[in-house]
């Protein structure tokens, strides 16, 4: 069986909600049934077959081709299977995802991994603001799972993140780890302003020390054996983080403006 492939016919002008096209929703459906699935684009319901050329039959292995940033909510709430995206993805990629794998070969818009609970989301390009953050109205961001970004992330990465792992190989924007409740965010590149703003708990693992605001306190240089466990857990992923091995870190704690007990670990080079 070949992967069920959705090839975009023409680049859409308006965002299309693709949340219906997940392995969970498509299992057991015929090609005709899949083509008749209604997708919402603004106030116009469209059929999947209007937007995509559909080929292949393996509903546990989806492929989006010629994808653009107008395709929102790809892989939303999925619990199994895999989705590969050749091109860019829109907002809310992997929204509420519980298990399975999504691999986006291009860039994504904002709110990738928002409300994610499990599984693996990897993005080869850059991602927008609010990576792993809570969606509008939610008091909690990402609740589990792993996100790997090979490029850069926008502002507010990991905002209100509750659990899980975000690894950003490039740079992260302003307010990285803001209001973070728990979990781990790693960044190998540069960071913007107000890193860990109002951070409650959790870990920011950084390669470069950003400009930290005054309510983040320096707790000195330490050798922390628990990093061995963390690094071991990185080794199964295809990421530059898997080459980390130094247990020596500078430890900052904050945000004390919030009586926060979050930590920023700056890896020694």
């Amino acid at each position: 069986m070949s992967a069920l492939t959705f090839t975009l016919k023409t680049a859409p002008q308006q965002s299309i909600n693709c949340s219906a096209l997940t392995p969970d929703n498509l299992i057991g459906k015929t090609a005709a049934e899949i083509g008749n699935i209604k997708l919402v684009s603004g106030k116009h319901p469209l059929l999947a077959s209007d937007i995509f050329d559909i080929s292949g039959s393996d509903t546990q292995q989806l492929n989006f081709r010629n994808a653009t940033a107008k395709l929102d909510y790809i892989g939303a709430n999925m619990t199994s299977g895999s989705i590969a995206i050749d091109g860019d993805a829109g907002a809310h990629l992997g929204f509420g995802m519980k298990n399975g794998e999504i691999h986006c070969k291009g860039n994504t818009a904002a709110f990738a991994a928002s409300g994610m609970r499990g599984g693996l989301l990897s993005i080869d390009g850059n991602t927008g603001d609010f990576l792993g953050a809570g969606s509008e109205g939610s008091r909690k961001g990402m609740l589990g799972g792993t996100v790997i970004v090979k490029g850069n992330a926008g502002d507010r990465a990991g905002d209100q993140m509750r659990r899980g792992l975000i690894l950003i190989e490039g740079n992260a924007g302003d307010y990285c780890g803001s209001r973070m409740i728990a979990g781990t965010i790693g960044v190998l590149g540069d960071l913007g302003a107000y890193t860990a703003f109002n951070m409650h708990r959790g870990t920011l693992l950084l390669k470069k020390q950003p400009q930290l605001h005054v309510t983040i306190q320096d707790c000195g240089a330490h050798t922390l054996p628990f990093l061995n466990l963390l690094f071991k857990s990185f080794s199964k992923y295809n990421t530059r983080f898997s080459t980390l091995n130094s247990l020596r870190v500078q430890r900052f704690v904050g945000d004390t403006a919030y009586s926060g007990n979050g930590e920023i670990l700056i890896l020694s080079t």
């Binding site: 870990t203 330490h222 071991k232 007990n261």
Partner: protein, 302 residues
């Protein structure tokens, strides 16, 4: 049955159901891992007075342990889950939390997960941090030497305690030397511990006593100095008896360990002073597991 001239009695060891767990202790080096593990398994020879029976199972290399540091694995057994949980927490708090550089990890997976550092974390007074790494929860508790790292839970499994055999020899040094030889061979096997000092116990007991308050008392039938005044099991040339007690995760683990121990002793031959191998039991009515010496040595025990 004779094995290399040494008589193997046609008898059996009688063993009981227990609850067991395994914990992996790591530290900066093996020296400190042993300090922690020795403290944790100290005063844990018999459930009668210690609550648990515990011992070091084996040494682990840095490559084998979860945090990549040298370590040892320990096994701990109790008659019930409640006692095991209590003892594990107490010993973790007094022996591992306190030991410089030591960390503790689950050594066994099970549906029954019991607290390893789950409650110990409150020692951190709010500064403790939890990390969920690859599906397992760990606690990092700030302490004066840096951080105490412990996994939240470890597995509790059904296990067996009380496998044993007796070594009957013509002198005390001969009996002890043979026991040491057996222990060396048995230490090479996984999933078992010999909880008594050096793995050997000299004060085997029988059920009951002439004193009303005592439930168990000295096994006079195997006491060499009582040969003439009690219904002795010992022939005139036997001058000393040593016992080796084994707790293990399964029947087969204990049977294999007993086989290895007895065979190591028999390989020494009768010139070692060892004349007989026997086993301790209560008539087969108390414990559900019977380790028949002849079957074990033939490899047909089950």
């Amino acid at each position: 049955m004779l094995l290399n001239g040494i008589q193997i009695d046609d008898t059996f060891a009688e063993a009981f159901n227990m609850r067991g767990t395994r914990v992996i202790i790591t530290a900066q080096n093996h020296k400190w891992a042993y300090h922690a593990a020795n403290a944790m398994t100290g005063f844990a020879t018999s459930v009668i007075g210690c609550g648990v029976e515990a011992g070091i199972e084996r040494e682990m290399t840095a490559e084998e342990t979860p945090d990549g540091r040298p370590g040892v694995s320990i096994l701990m057994f109790a008659m019930g889950s409640k006692v095991l949980m209590q003892q594990l927490e107490t010993r973790m708090g007094q022996c591992i939390l306190t030991c410089p550089t030591a960390a503790a990890f689950a050594g066994i997976e099970s549906e029954d997960m019991i607290s390893l550092g789950k409650h110990l974390r409150y020692f951190g007074d709010g500064f403790q941090t939890s990390k969920l790494i690859a599906g397992k929860r760990y606690w990092r508790i700030p302490v004066m030497d840096g951080e105490f790292l412990t996994e939240e839970t470890t597995g509790m499994v059904r296990a067996i305690g009380g496998g044993n055999f007796l070594i009957l020899a013509t002198s005390q040094p001969a009996a002890l030397a043979a026991a040491e030889t057996a222990i060396e061979a048995m230490k090479l096997l996984p999933n078992v511990i010999m909880p008594f000092p050096g793995g050997v116990v000299r004060s085997g007991s029988k059920v009951g006593s002439k004193y009303k308050t005592m439930f168990a008392s000295t096994n006079d039938a195997f006491c060499p100095t009582l040969k003439g005044v009690t219904n002795s099991e010992l022939s005139p040339e036997i001058e000393s008896v040593m016992e080796i007690v084994i707790d293990g995760l399964t029947f087969d683990d204990i049977a294999l360990s007993m086989k290895a121990g007895i065979e190591a002793i028999c390989a020494l031959g009768t010139s070692s002073g060892v004349k007989r191998i026997s086993a301790g039991n209560y008539g087969g009515k108390l414990g559900p597991h019977l380790f028949k010496l002849h079957d074990i040595l033939k490899g047909t025990a089950a």
